[in-house]
């Protein structure tokens, strides 16, 4: 590619990116507009919550347990250097509830549920099911996409809560049962240091935002996928990459908004 070609190509890619961004914004608007219709056909939403949420339970719970174990082990090593080993419960709980719960669940959700959503919608598009629905005057956005959007937004906070709760129990198992920290100190430090509204509440808000973002990205990539097997596979990869970057970027913004220095 010669130098004189490089600059216009870069410009074209940038304009394409902006155009896709705008297109996705309209897509999100359509999803939100169709949400009341989806809520009226609640059996569709329930079927999707089953597909998105129930089938993610195992990986979320297992990951939560593992993260709790590791947090307790690593946290104990550093805290014991300053004689603060009794605060291990506080460390594990705050790390999970504020950050790791929503973020790691978001990343796992993007990987597990996001890819399955993208693949499903992409294959529907490839098999011309979406076009057939439009021919029958059934809006695919309200019948197929909006229920999945609502289901994703509902499932994420529940999954994040399960992740955090299981993680705290994992931290208890390692900290108290294996290392031997006093259980009274473990729980009482945690209970006095974790605030329901500031910490748990903000964590739940984060997980709702991540759920909306990941589900929207997954549905958009599936809807806009090329109607070929390679197109669907590329769309699935894009979903994971863009969702993960979005989760981490939104996490930074939300953390700065929620947990900035107190007045």
């Amino acid at each position: 590619m010669t130098a004189s070609n490089l600059l216009p190509a870069l410009g074209r890619r940038a304009i394409n990116l902006l155009q896709r961004l705008g297109h996705s914004a309209f897509f999100l608007l359509d999803l939100v507009r169709n949400t009341p219709t989806a809520l009226r056909r609640f059996y569709l939403v329930i079927a999707q919550v089953h597909a998105i949420g129930n089938y993610s339970l195992v990986i979320i719970a297992a990951s939560g347990l593992a993260v709790g174990f590791v947090l307790a082990l690593q946290g104990y090593y550093t805290l014991s250097r300053y004689g603060a080993a009794e605060s291990l419960g506080l460390l594990v709980a705050l790390s999970l509830v504020r950050e790791l719960g929503p973020v790691v669940t978001g990343l796992l959700f993007a990987g597990r549920a996001g890819t399955s959503l993208t693949a499903e919608i992409g294959l529907m598009k490839a098999g011309e099911q979406l076009a057939a629905m439009e021919m029958m005057a059934v809006d695919p956005k309200s019948r197929v996409l909006a229920p999945r959007f609502v289901a994703g937004a509902i499932s994420m906070p529940l999954l994040a809560a399960i992740f955090s709760a299981v993680g705290i129990m994992g931290g208890y198992v390692v900290g108290v049962l294996m290392i031997g920290i006093d259980p009274g100190a473990f729980w009482s430090q945690m209970q006095s240091g974790v605030d329901v509204w500031d910490d748990v509440g903000n964590g739940i808000i984060k997980s709702v935002v991540f759920g909306v973002a990941c589900t929207f990205i997954a549905l958009y990539q599936g809807y806009e996928a090329e109607a070929t097997p390679e197109g669907v596979s590329q769309a699935t990869t894009r979903t994971v990459v863009i969702s993960s970057l979005a989760v981490l970027g939104l996490d930074f913004v939300l953390t700065a908004l929620m947990f900035s220095t107190p007045r």
């Binding site: 129930n54 709980a93 906070p157 529940l158 999954l159 809560a161 974790v194 605030d195």
Partner: protein, 156 residues
């Protein structure tokens, strides 16, 4: 799997999620620590509230009996006016004193109430007369240095 089966499983999933949230709220956080029973409000004025924050605990003999609800600057006396809600079951005499204490050496600050000996009790809207401000580290250091300098001057 029929629709009933799917709905049941989703119900189980939602139940687990809600249990997780409840566990976090009750066991991991401080929701259950201060009961939401009836309370009454009293105010106190301090020269310096230090690092006192809204929702800081109000303790007497180390036991939490209330929360700080508002902190404002009194424009007439230029003192900090602190409003706190106390548990209605606990009555304090009118000559109770309020101090701003620190939990541990570098922890959060809270208000400590020391009851006086009066027969009458504080009611809703009353003000605590005797207050002691928070310890400001810079003033303490300045005092220490001044004392050291005074000692040095005396020896000469």
């Amino acid at each position: 799997m029929g629709r009933k089966g799917i709905e049941t499983l989703v119900g189980v999933f939602v139940l687990l999620g809600l249990l997780g949230v409840v566990f976090l709220a009750l066991k991991a956080a401080n929701l259950a620590s201060f009961s939401t029973g009836p309370t009454y409000a009293i105010t106190a004025r301090f020269d310096n509230i230090g690092g006192l924050k809204v929702r800081a605990p109000v303790k007497s003999a180390g036991v939490t009996v209330g929360r700080v609800t508002a902190i404002a600057l009194d424009p007439q006396t230029y003192q900090g006016r602190v409003t706190m809600e106390l548990d209605a079951n606990v009555k304090f005499p009118t000559d109770t004193s309020a101090k701003i204490l620190t939990a541990g050496l570098l922890g959060d600050q809270y208000i400590g109430l020391e009851p006086g000996g009066s027969d009458k009790s504080l009611g809703s809207g009353d003000q605590i007369r005797m207050t002691q401000s928070a310890v400001v580290l810079e003033n303490l250091i300045g005092q220490f240095l001044y004392n050291k300098a005074a000692e040095g001057a005396e020896k000469k």
